[in-house]
Symmetry: C2
Subunit: 429 residues, 2 copies
């Protein structure tokens, strides 16, 4: 039996659940792998604070570097989050030849390429299943099972908060503000919900998915994002009538056939056909849908957040890193190459548009002419409401985003158009 000792940085929601889970599963893991894993040191902000899942308070320290430099520590688990000091600490651990398991999406979405290179240079593992889609095995299948696959597109519901809000709106007719307040009461949304509802959290995950799926260097700042705060009950209702659901999605597309690979990475609300597998992913669940050239359509579904599911992902990585360490090997990501980021204007898809208009004869003809002038062709149109409440709802055929934006610009200057209410991309059709 090989004994390996883990140095744990951070013992909050996920860190505590991890310490707990490892203790429960220690014997079973030893029986299946021949490795006896234990937590040997835990860096926390306050040593005095009582912690249910830490049986031995002597393990606690506020000195993060000491945990990494402790000669007994074989493996480091980083769960403190944020960019600094996590970046410095992970770099230190890798430099000391100690494998690192992290769930830090913000760090990887901004400094991933540098850290993967440091891991490779030191011949040790840097594993991060917990950083994207919580407990769902996604990074390992992408890195290993699908490394030979020509992936065309990855589309994910990777933020549980926004999925919960949109599910409440769709299933109970809740208004956005009420659904958000409910999510906050349940602890699904923070007091300041910006990171979730404006797509920053999903954007960081999209950057990591893009890097792994296409072997390119993509950072959070490369991701186009739109939030869900402008989605109205009318949009939700119209989506249902047209046999769609509205979901907040992260979409990653890549073309690695040319000399310089090109990727498109974006996060936005989308209309998804009701019979698409992602459409029935509800509440705070996450799912990632992968379109591969040979494998066809794949979907991975599960809990994208929460202490226990995330701790499960961390534990899977820890066991993997431990097995690799014993075997004297490490998982390779390969060098991430520079990619051209495709601008959102170059996106081609269908669009849902809701436009508030004056309700008088000839308006539709005027509006339709503007669409036609910009090479945007209309698949279906429906008028909702009358008089001052009249709205025209369009679904376009597939067209370029730049043309749709030019159409909207021109429509705004029409007397008969009062307001552009919504513009939602249609995906998965």
């Amino acid at each position: 039996m090989t004994q390996l000792t883990i140095g744990l940085l951070g013992c909050g929601n996920v860190g505590g659940a991890f310490a707990d889970l490892l203790e429960k599963r220690r014997d079973a893991i030893a029986a299946r792998t021949g490795i006896d894993l234990r937590v040997g040191a835990i860096a926390v902000r306050s040593v005095a604070k009582h912690r249910d899942h830490v049986s031995n308070p002597d393990l606690l320290t506020t000195d993060t570097r000491a945990v990494i430099e402790n000669p007994e520590v074989d493996l480091v688990v980083e769960l403190i989050g944020g960019i600094e000091p996590a970046r410095e600490l992970i770099t230190l651990a890798l430099g000391a030849g100690k494998p690192v398991v992290t769930g830090n999406k913000e760090l990887l979405a901004n400094h991933g390429a540098e850290l993967y290179a440091a891991a490779a240079a030191n011949g040790v593992d840097l594993l991060f299943e917990a950083a994207v889609a919580g407990g769902i095995p996604l990074i390992r299948p992408l890195r290993e099972s699908l490394v030979g696959e020509d992936v065309a597109r990855v589309m994910g519901i990777v933020n549980g908060t926004t999925n919960y809000i949109l599910t409440q709106m769709a299933q109970h007719g809740a208004a956005y503000a009420d659904a958000l307040a409910g999510a906050q009461q349940l602890g699904y949304a923070e007091a300041d919900p910006t990171a979730d509802v404006e797509g920053y959290d999903a954007g960081a995950k999209a950057a990591i998915i893009a890097s792994i799926a296409f072997g390119v260097s993509v950072v959070a700042g490369d991701v186009y994002h739109e939030g869900i705060s402008s989605i109205t009950s009318t949009d939700i209702e119209m989506a249902k009538r047209l046999d769609y659901v509205i979901k907040a999605v992260a979409v990653v597309e890549g073309d690695t056939s040319g000399d310089t690979p090109e990727v498109a990475v974006r996060v936005h609300p989308a209309m998804i056909p009701a019979d698409h597998p992602l459409a029935s992913v509800n509440d705070s669940f996450n799912a990632v849908f992968i379109e591969g050239n040979a494998v066809g359509d794949l979907m991975f579904y599960g809990r994208g957040a929460g202490g226990d599911p995330t701790a499960s992902a961390v534990l899977g990585d820890v066991i993997d890193a431990a097995l690799n360490k014993v075997a004297g090997t490490s998982a390779k990501i390969g060098e991430l190459v520079k990619a051209r980021i495709r601008p959102i204007d170059d996106l081609t898809c269908a669009y849902y548009l809701s436009i508030e208009v004056a309700d008088r004869p000839g308006v539709l003809a005027q509006v339709a002419a503007v669409f036609g002038d910009h090479a945007v062709s209309i698949q279906s149109m429906e008028q909702r409401g009358l008089g001052d409440d009249a709205e025209l709802i369009f679904i376009t055929h597939s067209c370029r985003e730049a043309d749709v934006r030019a159409t909207l610009h021109a429509l705004r200057s029409l007397d008969s158009v009062n307001h552009i209410n919504s513009l939602i991309r249609v995906v998965g059709a």
Copy 2:
């Protein structure tokens, strides 16, 4: 750049697709892994037969042993299927220190433990992602990501043929015989559909899933199975009215807490709540739903058969085995321990029952009394039809299968009961 040569046994639907896919992806794989993979020898039944995807017919031979013993061959891919000579050939390859990738579910479901042990003894990989659920990454996540997880249950739609037939019956009101004939026309079902519709194919996959999920030795003969050929349009229609769908499922449950682990492995049609993630898995798609103690609910969805998706799974394994070979390591399954197989009589779940009765006063009281006598309590009852066509449809509360069987036995001796039409287990509620 490391060069590795593959010996391919079998060049049918999957073998051909694999040779093709490897050729297409060879450069991309080399760029990402540093390994240049090529097929160096192919064993086939007929060398004369024209093959589109074999660019160099000189690689073809009918001598399977020569392919394995060829000193240029570093890795063996076995896609001939069946038990012998596949078993002998894989054993030969492993003994020669050559990693093996196989999609042979029949072999692994009957001789898995022996072959995994041979791989371990020789320190080489035996990988078999393609044997269960085709292109869906399932075995690797189970073996690696979830090795530390306390898995409670795995429930899968792992046979595309029966899922296609049941989807046709549910969505288009087709009768079983017509749906089967349609599946045969499309090539989804064989001329003799027994292996699919009676659950033998799914049973072999269930045995493999049970072995990997719980680290126990389970063979195909341990699996309880019922086919779908007795499912009627009435069952399908009643399921819909009661907010269920009928799916053919493989269910694997384990309890590894005692000295001897206990597993239940069964394949049968089941009523699944319409809002369960498995319920919307339609047509020939497969999906595997995993219930873990820490990770919660997970589902993996995709193509369970077909040349390209299965070839994608084979390619993922080949790259993994190649990377391991270069690193001088191999994946470990661990020793599979003996388990007690829980008999179907000990199953506890809810049941759907359809009973043809004489339509006269007092019959329900008689029937209900028999249920009560056997400690089977009724959750809902509904009468369908009148006179000679009268049917009583029951859904029970959760109860023991042995008690339900005793109930049916006693009901058959009642004058007022003409026929037991259906008994379908309710799962996922």
